[in-house]
């Protein structure tokens, strides 16, 4: 059974329940030094209300790692604007961003920025050192690269670089020999940072499926899927992320 908590920033705590509520509360007190209500307040900051469903799994008593699975529905002015699902694993100092969806009401409002800011604050309280995710589907492969995420391991970069090399072939004729050689050279690098170097390439190319030219970096990474991470101790990556989510100018 999952613990539930509905928090309304105007009217205060609305409701809570679930047989595992004490376990989730204990988890929050142990790992963040704050109770579930305070954690919920952090996640609800700058929004009108949140509905939180959480479950502590693999308790430390049973020899597990003591993770907290959270699904959070966010409301603004009484209208649901998005749902975010994540997992906190303080033993590994890792948080995994599982998925996030937004409603049309959140489009063009920049509401995802405070969502990610609140999440970062909650992670900081749990002494999380890195955020992981699977960058994929249509846009994720490119978007998360521009948010400072890099492949989790050199092996993961090697895998994705092979995919990108194959995707480069149909548009090579649109590049100068120098641009093609440099792109191939970056794709052949063993350093996962090469993913960012690829994402930054601004040379316009026309994709075989699209009529309008787009930057080569975007063309290569859109539609790709890779396991990414953001090391919170990696200054340059963190700077990119903080700027993107609006915590730094």
């Amino acid at each position: 059974m999952t613990a539930f908590l509905a928090l309304n920033n105007r009217g205060g705590l609305k409701s809570f329940g679930g047989s595992t509520l004490p376990a989730v509360n204990d988890w929050c007190l142990t790992h963040s030094g704050r109770d579930l209500l305070q954690v919920a307040r952090t996640l609800a900051s700058r929004f009108s209300a949140v509905n939180i469903a959480a479950r502590a799994v693999g308790s430390r008593d049973s020899g597990g790692s003591g993770q907290l699975l959270v699904r959070e529905q966010i409301f603004q002015a009484g209208v649901p604007i998005g749902t975010i699902a994540f997992r906190l694993d303080p033993a590994q100092q890792r948080a995994h961003l599982s998925w996030t969806v937004l409603t049309p009401a959140a489009r063009g409002t920049g509401a995802f920025k405070p969502m990610l800011q609140n999440l970062l604050l909650a992670m900081r309280d749990c002494r999380i050192a890195r955020i992981t995710l699977v960058a994929g589907l249509t846009h994720g492969g490119y978007v998360w690269a521009t948010y400072g995420f890099l492949p989790q391991t050199p092996a993961e970069w090697t895998r994705i670089s092979g995919v990108l090399r194959a995707k480069l072939v149909p548009v090579t004729a649109q590049l100068t020999p120098e641009q093609a050689a440099l792109t191939t050279q970056l794709l052949g690098s063993a350093d996962p940072l090469a993913l960012r170097a690829i994402a930054a390439i601004a040379v316009p190319v026309t994709a075989p499926t699209g009529p309008t030219p787009i930057p080569l970096g975007r063309y290569l990474l859109l539609g790709s899927e890779w396991k990414g991470q953001l090391e919170l101790s990696d200054g340059p990556s963190m700077l990119i992320y903080l700027r993107r989510i609006g915590l730094m100018p």
Partner: protein
């Protein structure tokens, strides 16, 4: 257990002052229109956050996904010359 009333029992008792219903003209009433649910209760079409992030990136920010400092850092890490950086990242648009 209840017992079904016998036919001798009066099922309907009408008030003495009530007008007879017989001969009443049936009125055509419009079908009841379903009440529109409030926006919060209506099912919403959800979109991945990445789609919105890309949309807002295109709408709000500069065309380059990274700052000049980050491009310079990338160039240092991969040993790219100024000419090579220009070829990939800073060519005349």
């Amino acid at each position: 257990m209840t017992k079904k009333p016998l036919p001798t029992v009066l099922e309907y008792v009408s008030a003495a002052h009530a007008a007879p219903k017989r001969g009443r003209v049936a009125e055509a009433t419009p079908a009841k229109r379903p009440r529109r649910r409030p926006a919060a209760a209506r099912p919403q079409m959800l979109v991945r956050m990445e789609e919105v992030m890309l949309f807002e990136m295109d709408a709000n920010s500069a065309p380059d996904p990274f700052t000049t400092e980050e491009i310079d850092r990338i160039a240092r890490v991969f040993g790219l010359s100024t000419g090579e950086v220009t070829a990939l990242y800073r060519f005349a648009r």
